[in-house]
Amino acid sequence: MRVAATTEISAPAEAIWKLVSDPTRYLEFMSGVTRWEVQSEEPTGLGARYRMLLLVGSAEIGGLIEVVEWNDGSDLAWNSVTGIDQRGRWRLRERTRGRTHVELRLSYGVAGAGLSGWISERLAGPIVSGHLRRSVQQLKRLVEHEQLRVSAAERRKARAAA
């Protein structure tokens, strides 16, 4: 099953990319995520591996994932190596200067689980979808607050110089 959440963030794509490409910051904004640990020598980039868990119902679901697509500032996609089957993607598009469209996608399932797999995917859908929605909202707040702090610091600096 595939779920997605989108938002518009008042910040350049570069500022958002700094967060979504940094595995150490995932627990700050990813709703329901209980673990996002680096499992590879290289913490970022193509081939980086993480152990991630997402609380869905009574279980923390996830496993080992690997980054399979890494386009600086725009796309980051991962596939599962162990655990449930999943494919996720961050998609950042700066439509106008300083305003970025952000989309978080996640496809998940358990191959071979048959009808019960199909039913459980649908039952879990609203929970996973809610996590994604809250994640992009928290990301938006985090980035925009950081932007406000940066611009406030610049204003103070300018005032001090004048």
Binding site: S58, E60, T82, G112, A113, G114, S116, G117, I119
Partner: protein
């Protein structure tokens, strides 16, 4: 099946072929001495022999990660939707290596807390991590429950526990066993291992940490009235099947449910499970720990946690 084969299979499960149940020891065991040559005696021997022949040979390789993975959605629906399960503290379980998980047991023969914890463990650590559970012989010999072996359930015996820990697996044991799992409803929030300390010896022998696993809610899935210990003794079930209890409960769809052999439909009680911090026995209690002291410590820890979990609940079943 010949008596020698039955004895062989029982021995490979860690049972003394000359032991109390003595299902295969035709003409030697106590059952025979009691059963005599009358019809009741012959019938009793036939039943015990049938049960013994159904106890599968312990083979850790029967655990099937792919099968478990494919069954996770079913378990997830059962645990998340029916029992509204909540599992806390899995981060306390060491990430690698053998570990002895010691749980309080609830819910009659269906033990919903085990289902909830099995799901949580397998999704948290991945089905690739070997995880075994010890179960009563009768559970494994029941028709239709052979799938449990694929989940890593093996007959409860010191030998099987040893095999599992030596293989580096996580092992879940319920020291209270059938005695605790059928405690009456009004004792539902009580940890009762009946003084059984084998799990401590096991942890010391293999030098593995103990992680207490406390659960609540399982004993609210039916109205358990009595363990029926006297009834079990009268029917000599303790000698024949290692059954110290013959539980009496009120449970759907049967109403009055004696023995719980056919299971029951559990009420959808909220199940909460909490794994506590690991206990390194030698680090905490010295080189040669006193078993009574360790036992009291673990039971106290678990009881305090169970009390805290009970305080969170507003109503039985609803949680």
């Amino acid at each position: 099946m010949s008596s020698s084969k039955v004895a062989e299979r029982a021995a490979s499960n860690g049972h003394d072929p000359k032991g109390k149940a003595g299902p295969g020891a035709k003409g030697k065991g106590k059952a025979d001495a009691h059963g005599g040559g009358n019809l009741v005696g012959r019938l009793t021997r036939a039943v015990t022999s049938q049960v013994a022949s159904r106890i599968p040979v312990a083979d850790l390789d029967e655990r099937d990660p792919d099968y478990i993975r494919e069954r996770l959605p079913q378990l997830w629906m059962l645990a998340s939707i029916y029992f509204r399960g909540e599992v806390r503290g899995l981060g306390n379980v060491p990430e690698t290596g053998p570990v002895l998980l010691v749980g309080n047991h609830s819910g009659g023969n269906l033990t919903p807390d085990t289902s909830v914890f099995t799901l949580a463990f397998n999704t948290y650590f991945g089905v690739e991590r070997a995880f075994y559970q010890l179960a009563h012989n009768l559970v494994l010999s029941m028709p239709g429950l052979s799938f449990l072996r694929k989940f890593g359930t093996v007959a409860a015996s010191p030998e099987n526990a040893q095999k599992a820990l030596e293989s580096g697996a996580a092992l879940l044991v319920y020291p209270g066993g059938d005695y605790e799992v059928h405690r009456p409803f009004w004792e539902r929030n009580r940890v009762d291992f009946d003084g059984r300390k084998g799990f401590i010896r096991l942890a010391l022998e293999h030098d593995v940490p103990i992680v207490p696993v406390v659960s609540i809610g399982g004993q609210e899935t039916a109205l358990f009235l009595s363990r029926g210990e006297t009834l079990s003794r009268l029917l000599r079930l303790d000698k024949l099947f290692r059954m110290k209890v013959l539980p009496i409960s009120l449970a759907p769809p049967w109403g009055l449910n004696i023995g719980d052999m056919s299971g029951h439909i559990p009420l959808p009680a909220k199940i909460t499970v909490e794994a506590l911090a690991p206990i390194d026995l030698r680090a905490e209690f010295g080189k040669n720990p006193d078993l009574d002291e360790v036992y009291d410590h673990i039971v106290r820890l678990m009881q305090e946690t169970l009390d805290a979990l009970a305080a969170e609940r507003r109503l039985p079943v609803i949680g």
